[in-house]
C-alpha cells in the first residue's frame, strides 16, 4: 500500500521534473544576449569564419544545426508558417526554384528592407538574381559560386602516357565526347584505375552549362522532356557510365562505381583508384580533407565548354524569425567581400563578390596541393563566364530522378524495358525517368 503511494509520488516528481527541464530548455536566455539559430547543411558555414564573428560579438550566441540536405529544406518548408523557424536558413540552389515561388517567398523576410539593396552591386549579378523571389523580394544572399574545372592526378596521367601540363591536358578534351574518349583510352592504358570517380557528375556538369534546364524561364512550364540540353547531358553521362555492354549488361564505364562523399570515396581517393574529379571550387577542399597524402600530385585543367555552375547556396531569414535584425548583421557580415575572401583562402569556396577577383590575393593565388595551379585565376574567369540558369519549382526532385536513372545504367539494374527501348539501355532508363518524374512531380 505504501509502495503504491511511493510510486505515485515518485512518478509525479519525475513528470514534473521532466517537463520542467523541457520548459527550462525553451526559455533560458539572458535578457541582453541574442541567440541566433541557424539551419544549414554541408559546409555552408565554415567554423573559423563563424568563430571570428563570435569573438567580435560576445553577446551573440550562434547555434548552427547541420542537417541532411533534403531534411533541412523539408523541415524549413513545414516550419515557415509557424513560429518554429530558425533565424537563418541556408537554401541550396536545387531548392531555390521552389522557394522563389511567390507563396513561399512571402514567408521570408525581404532583405531589401534590411539593407540588401545597398550591397547588391557587390555580388555577381546572376547569383544575386537567384536569390530574388518571384514576388520581387530579395529573399537570399548568395554564398559562393561553384565554377567548374577538372582536378586530375598528374602521376596517374603520366602512367597512361598522357601529358601532365594543364594547358595540354585541357587541349585533350575540347568537347565532352572527347572527354569520354580520353577516359576510355586512359583505362586501357592503366587497367584497374578508373578515369573519373563518378560519371553521374557529368550530368549536372553538362546540364548546367546551358541557360535553362527543366523549366522555361518565361512561361515557367516544365520543359525537361523536350529541352535538348537535358537529353544531351543525360546521354553523355549515360555513355560515360556505360561505355560498352557485354551479355546484355553494362561491362565498362569511365568511372568507378563509388558515390561521391561516401566513405569509400575518400578511401578510393587515397589509394589512387581514379584519376580525375569534376571540381567546382568547393571540391578542392574536400579533396584535401579526404586524401591529404596526395598533396602535390594533382593539377587543375578546364572542362570542355569552359565552365559550368555547380551548386551554391543562399542565406535567408524567415519572416517569423525572432531575431531578424541580428540575423541580418550576421549574414551580411559573413558574406561580405572581406569574409568571402578569407573563406576562399581557408576553405576554397569561391567568392560571389566578384570585385575581389582582380585582387592579387585571388588573381595570383596558387594552390601547392594542386601543383601550384593558379586556382584563383582559373575559377574567377570561369565565374565571370557563367550564365544564369533558370531554377524551377521541382528541380531537386527531377535531379534526383535522373540521378537514379543514371545509377541504374551504371549498376546494370535497368531491368525494365520502356517504350521501344529494351532493358539495360540508356533509352529505357531515360524513358523510365520521364515516367517517374511525371509520377513524382505531376508535371
Amino acid at each position: 500500500m505504501k509502495l503504491g503511494i511511493r510510486i505515485r509520488t515518485g512518478l509525479a516528481v519525475a513528470v514534473a521534473t521532466g517537463l520542467a527541464v523541457a520548459g527550462a530548455g525553451v526559455g533560458a536566455q539572458a535578457a541582453s544576449n541574442v541567440t541566433l539559430t541557424v539551419w544549414s547543411y554541408g559546409n555552408v558555414f565554415e567554423p573559423k569564419i563563424v568563430d571570428m564573428y563570435r569573438k567580435a560579438h560576445p553577446d551573440v550566441t550562434i547555434k548552427i544545426t547541420k542537417m541532411n540536405l533534403d531534411d533541412e529544406h523539408n523541415k524549413l518548408l513545414y516550419a515557415l508558417p509557424s513560429r518554429a523557424v530558425p533565424d537563418v536558413a541556408a537554401v541550396e540552389m536545387a531548392y531555390m526554384g521552389q522557394f522563389r515561388q511567390p507563396m513561399i517567398a512571402a514567408q521570408f523576410t525581404n532583405l531589401n528592407t534590411l539593407g540588401a539593396n545597398k550591397i547588391a552591386s557587390d555580388y555577381l549579378p546572376f547569383r544575386w538574381a537567384q536569390g530574388t523571389g518571384l514576388n520581387g523580394a530579395q529573399i537570399g544572399l548568395p554564398t559562393d559560386v561553384g565554377g567548374l574545372a577538372v582536378a586530375y592526378r598528374t602521376d596517374l596521367f603520366k602512367k597512361a602516357g598522357f601529358p601532365t601540363k594543364r594547358e595540354e591536358v585541357t587541349a585533350l578534351w575540347p568537347t565532352w565526347e572527347k572527354f569520354i574518349t580520353v577516359g576510355k583510352q586512359f583505362q586501357n592504358k592503366v587497367p584497374g584505375v578508373g578515369f573519373m570517380d563518378s560519371t553521374g557528375t557529368l550530368f549536372a556538369a553538362v546540364l548546367n552549362q546551358g541557360t535553362e534546364k527543366y523549366y522555361d524561364a518565361k512561361s515557367r512550364a516544365a520543359i525537361y522532356r523536350t529541352n535538348p540540353t537535358v537529353k544531351r547531358a543525360f546521354d553523355i553521362a549515360a555513355k560515360a557510365g556505360c561505355t560498352f555492354m557485354r551479355n546484355n549488361k553494362c561491362a565498362g564505364s569511365i568511372g568507378t562505381k563509388i558515390n561521391q562523399f561516401s566513405p569509400d570515396w575518400g578511401a578510393a581517393m587515397n589509394k589512387g583508384a581514379f584519376a580525375a574529379v569534376l571540381a567546382p571550387a568547393w571540391m578542392l577542399d574536400y579533396i584535401k580533407q579526404q586524401a591529404p597524402g596526395t598533396k602535390g600530385k594533382w593539377d587543375i585543367a578546364a572542362v570542355p565548354g569552359g565552365g559550368g555552375n555547380m551548386g551554391g547556396s543562399m542565406l535567408t531569414i524567415p519572416k517569423k524569425a525572432k531575431n531578424a535584425k541580428a540575423a541580418w548583421d550576421f549574414i551580411s557580415w559573413y558574406l561580405a567581400p572581406a569574409q568571402q575572401l578569407k573563406t576562399f583562402q581557408l576553405y576554397g569556396l569561391f567568392p560571389t563578390t566578384y570585385k575581389m577577383y582582380s585582387q592579387p590575393s585571388i588573381k595570383n593565388y596558387k594552390d601547392p596541393f594542386f601543383n601550384n595551379a593558379p586556382v584563383g585565376a582559373i575559377y574567377s574567369s570561369s565565374a565571370m563566364k557563367l550564365k544564369p540558369i533558370y531554377a524551377g519549382a521541382k528541380d531537386r526532385l527531377i535531379d534526383s530522378t535522373f540521378g537514379q536513372a543514371l545509377a541504374r545504367i551504371t549498376q546494370g539494374t535497368q531491368t525494365k524495358s520502356c517504350g521501344s527501348f529494351p532493358a539495360q539501355t540508356s533509352g529505357a532508363a531515360w524513358c523510365q525517368a520521364l515516367q517517374d518524374i511525371q509520377h513524382n512531380v505531376g508535371q
Binding site: 533534403d70 523539408n74 508558417p81 507563396m103 563509388i258 569509400d264 526532385l397 534526383s400 537514379q404 509520377h439
Partner: protein
C-alpha cells in the same frame, strides 16, 4: 424454484448490480489511456485516410495555412483519383513485393532457427542457461539505427567484411546494396539479428509450459522424436506461433527504418530494389511533397494489413479446428 434459491438469486443480482455500479469508476481508470489513444492513435489515422481523398500537395497545405479559406480544400477534393492512381502505380506494387520478400526471408528462417535454439535451451541439464538466454537478448536492446550503420558497413561492396571473406574464397563480390535479393537478404539479416534472441525466448517459454504428461504419454505410445514434435510440441505452441506470426507480419509490413538507413534515402535504392511500402509512403509524402497521395498509400497499407490479418485469423481458426479432431 424454492423460496431459498429465489432469495439467493435476487441477492446475487442485487450484489452484481452493486458491483457494476461500483465498477463504473473503472471508466476513469481507462479514460486517460483511451482519450490519449483516440487523440494520438485513432485521429491521425482517420485524418490520414481523409487526406487520401484530396489532391493535397505542399502548395495546397501552404495555401490553406496562409489563407485559411475553405475553398482551398474544396478545390483540392479529388475523390477516388489518388486510389485509381495507386492501383496502377507499379512502384506501389513493387514496394509491396519488396516488403513481402524481405518479410519472407526474415521470418521463415528466423522462426525455424528460433525454434531450434529454444529446443536447445529447454534442456534442464544445460549449464549457464541464464547466461545464454541473457546473451541472446543483447541484440534486441540496440537501436535500429545503430544496427543499420554497422550492417551497412559489413555489407559494403568494396570494403565490407562479407565481400572480403567472399573474395578470399574466390567468389565475386556481391552487390549487397544494388542487387535486389542480396539487398533483401542484408536487410533481413539486420532484422533477424535483432529478433532471433527475443523470439527464441518466447518459444522457450512456450516449450517449457508444455505439461510433462503429454510427453510421457507420447513416449508410452512409442512416438518417435519427429512425431513428438509434430503432434505434441507444435500444437501445444499453436498460440505462441500464431502470436509470433502476427507480430512478425505487422512489423514486417511496417518495415521502414532499416531500408531508410541502409539506402541512405527515401528511394530504397537506385532501382527501388528495397523500397518498402512505408518507405514509399514517406517518399511520396515528404520527398515529393504529395501529401494526399502519400495518405492514399497509407490507406493501401492499411488494407493490406487488414487482408493479412484476416488470412491470419482464418489460418488460426483452421488450426484450432484441426486440433479438436
Amino acid at each position: 424454484m424454492t423460496a431459498i434459491s429465489q432469495t439467493l438469486k435476487s441477492r446475487k443480482r442485487r450484489r452484481m448490480s452493486a458491483i457494476a455500479r461500483q465498477d463504473r469508476v473503472g471508466l476513469f481508470y481507462v479514460a486517460p489511456f483511451f482519450v490519449h489513444f483516440v487523440l494520438f492513435g485513432a485521429i491521425p489515422i482517420v485524418f490520414t485516410t481523409a487526406l487520401a481523398f484530396f489532391n493535397a500537395d505542399f502548395q495546397t497545405y501552404y495555401e490553406f495555412i496562409t489563407n485559411h479559406q475553405l475553398s482551398v480544400l474544396t478545390n483540392a477534393f479529388a475523390g477516388l483519383d489518388n486510389f485509381r492512381e495507386l492501383f496502377k502505380d507499379s512502384y506501389f506494387w513493387l514496394a509491396l513485393r519488396n516488403t513481402f520478400s524481405i518479410w519472407l526471408i526474415s521470418t521463415v528462417p528466423q522462426l525455424i532457427i528460433a525454434f531450434g535454439l529454444a529446443s536447445l535451451l529447454a534442456n534442464a541439464r544445460l549449464r549457464a542457461s541464464t547466461f545464454w538466454r541473457t546473451a541472446l537478448m543483447i541484440p534486441n536492446i540496440t537501436s535500429v539505427l545503430a544496427v543499420a550503420i554497422v550492417f551497412q558497413q559489413l555489407f559494403g561492396r568494396d570494403f565490407g567484411i562479407f565481400n572480403v571473406l567472399l573474395h578470399y574464397v574466390g567468389h565475386k563480390p556481391i552487390e549487397w546494396v544494388a542487387g535486389t535479393i542480396p539487398s533483401h537478404f542484408a536487410i533481413a539479416t539486420m532484422i533477424n539479428w535483432r529478433w532471433l534472441g527475443y523470439n527464441s525466448l518466447i518459444f522457450l517459454a512456450a516449450i517449457l509450459a508444455i505439461p510433462k504428461e503429454l510427453y510421457e504419454s507420447a513416449a508410452l505410445d512409442g512416438a518417435s522424436r519427429w512425431q513428438t514434435v509434430r503432434y505434441v510440441t507444435i500444437p501445444q505452441m499453436k498460440n505462441t506461433i500464431t502470436f509470433m506470426l502476427v507480430m512478425g507480419t505487422i512489423g514486417g509490413l511496417g518495415l521502414f527504418v532499416e531500408p531508410l538507413t541502409y539506402g541512405g534515402g527515401f528511394d530504397g535504392g537506385a532501382n527501388s530494389q528495397f523500397l518498402t511500402m512505408t518507405l514509399y509512403l514517406y517518399k511520396q509524402a515528404f520527398m515529393n511533397q504529395r501529401l494526399g497521395y502519400g495518405a492514399a498509400i497509407g490507406v493501401g497499407i492499411t488494407l493490406v494489413v487488414m487482408i493479412i490479418s484476416a488470412i491470419n485469423f482464418m489460418i488460426t481458426r483452421s488450426i484450432a479446428g484441426e486440433e479438436s479432431k
